[in-house]
Amino acid sequence: MNAAGEPIVLEVRQLVAGYSGQAVLHQVDIELHAGEIVSLLGANGAGKSTLLKTIMGTVPVIRGEIHLLGQNISDWAPYKRVSTGIGFSPEGRRVFANLTVEENLLIGATSMSRAHRRDQINAVGDLFPVLAQRMNQRAGTLSGGEQQMLAVARAMMTKPRLLMVEEPSQGLAPVVVERIYETLREIVSQGEVAVLVAEQFQQVNEEASDRILVIDKGVVIPDSELASVTAAAAEVAP
């Protein structure tokens, strides 16, 4: 519980992780509470992508723990973590280009039972009316902004408690990005979901974020205000 009394959704303790025993993340500590949007800033190579992928389970944990809703998921397979309550919208959208919008959403709901999948598609359609109109369109033909919506919608199909969105602004016009952040705000407004948004420094949306974390060279710098972020980043840079 944090000061506002919201439950802790994600807790990362002293996490050391990386491929082939080569640590990319060094003693990372993070706490995420329901109902907040947290921005994670950093460049590629800083460990931002690696952190998200470690939480998802596709990068192995070397030391430390990851707790989701109180459960230790550090050794779990990705599909198990997803069914427990994580949704992930990766960098570059990564929609299934040859499948329709509806089929993309169905894949997102793989871990749910067949009956629930249908219901959830309708629910998600309400959240993203743009997509509801394009259910039978091939995902590869959507615009960049629509694909980003689809990626987030697909991640929402399992009704996750933790939603992680990686670089939603990449390659999108700022006006489109603002709309996406509005949707994220709407998602957390019910107070059940925690949202972690990973962004490059120059893309940060400080108005939409409740908190800002900075990661550089695999180390997370504790919570800070935006003004000092750039200075801190400049200090630790090589």
């Binding site: 491929y19 082939s20 998802m56 596709t58 192995p60 397979a77 990705p78 599909y79 997803v82 069914s83 992930f88 990766p90 990564r94 929609v95 299934f96 280009a97 040859n98 499948l99 089929e103 993309n104 169905l106 894949i107 997102g108 793989t110 871990s111 067949r114 697909r154 991640a155 399992t158």
Partner: protein, 332 residues
């Protein structure tokens, strides 16, 4: 051209094409899910052929030995053959093929090995195939003795003799079964891929495997299933081939490479296109053999057959235009 042989070629060629359809199905299924050419199926086909031979051959004039792994053991006293009925033998071999391929898929699609490059995975697959073929060739099997077919040895005249240039055209039970299985298999697969959720998952993984994992797909389970099914298909192909041409492991390798060529007609992605390729291959081969184009010497037959196959591949590749040379960064 001897048009009086037309129906002979059409029917015999079409049916014999059935055998050529199996391995392309295996290769395409596994290519879509792993983006690598699963050469391992060649090994499974080789093992399937050998095992079927060992399990089912009853010919009493052969002594009671089969498995000798080195010259040191006396062939007359070492080892035993099970001598089962052909049909259960076939089922057993198909099951073994499924298990072997499923195990291979299970290993290869584990989280630890997921980080290997396509080139490395292809090499591993090639290595596994060569290993299986090597083991198969250690087993002392007489390649000139063909095992019996599980479907009996019946032969049927499918066309009146007037249509087949007054030669009786006899099709064996085995050939009919082979053809029907390939057709049935393709239909079942088509339905499975488009109508079931698992089929949808397989199509999604073919698009973007990592994104599928992040959506909660049980990659290892699906991968094992796909490999298992394609392994069963490869083992069945091995069984059917040993009935028609004998159980020589090296022949299985050739069979696999032919299957690869046919699968490439469909760009390794399109099942319908590659089945058409198999059909054309079977038709051309039969046409050359029965003399549709007149008397053609064996070397020229080979040149024509492979020339035709390669031309089809080149033409289809250019028509599909799904790769522009420079947009592909590497060859493999």
């Amino acid at each position: 051209m001897h048009f009086d042989l037309f129906f002979t070629v059409l029917l015999a060629g079409g049916i014999s094409a059935g055998l050529y359809g199996f391995l392309p199905i295996s290769l395409i299924l596994t290519y879509r899910i792993s983006r690598t050419i699963a050469f391992v199926h060649g090994g499974i086909a080789a093992l399937g052929a050998i095992l079927y031979w060992i399990f089912s051959l009853h010919n009493d004039f052969l002594p009671n030995y089969i498995i000798t792994f080195s010259q040191a053991q006396d062939p007359k006293t070492f080892g035993h053959r099970p001598k089962w009925e052909p049909f259960p033998s076939m089922l057993a071999v198909v099951a073994i093929g499924a298990i072997l391929a499923g195990t291979y898929g299970f290993i290869v699609m584990s989280r630890q090995l997921a980080s290997l490059t396509v080139l490395t995975l292809t090499i591993v697959s090639l290595g596994a195939m060569m290993g299986m073929v090597g083991v198969s060739s250690l087993m002392n099997v007489d390649a000139n003795v063909f095992p019996d077919s599980p479907f009996g040895s019946g032969r049927h005249k499918l066309l009146p003799e007037s249509m087949t240039s007054h030669q009786p055209l006899l099709i064996t039970n085995n050939q009919i079964f082979t053809f029907l299985t390939v057709v049935g298999l393709s239909l079942v697969l088509a339905v499975f891929l488009t109508r079931t959720h698992t089929g949808l998952v397989i199509r999604a993984l073919a698009d973007d495997q990592e994104a599928g994992v992040w959506c909660g797909v049980k990659l290892r389970a699906v991968g094992t299933l796909v490999y298992g099914v394609s392994g069963a298909i490869a083992a069945l192909a091995g069984v059917l081939t040993s009935i028609t041409v004998g159980a020589n492991p090296a022949d299985m390798l050739v069979f696999l490479l032919d299957g690869l060529a046919i699968a490439i007609v469909g760009g390794l992605r399109s099942l319908p296109l590659s089945l058409i390729g198999a059909l054309l291959y079977g038709l051309t081969e039969t046409a050359l053999k029965v003399g549709f184009f007149g008397e053609v010497s064996l070397p020229v037959q080979a040149v024509v057959l492979y020339g035709a196959l390669l031309s089809i591949i080149v033409v289809v590749a250019r028509l599909r235009r799904d790769t522009f040379f420079l947009l592909e960064r590497q060859s493999l």
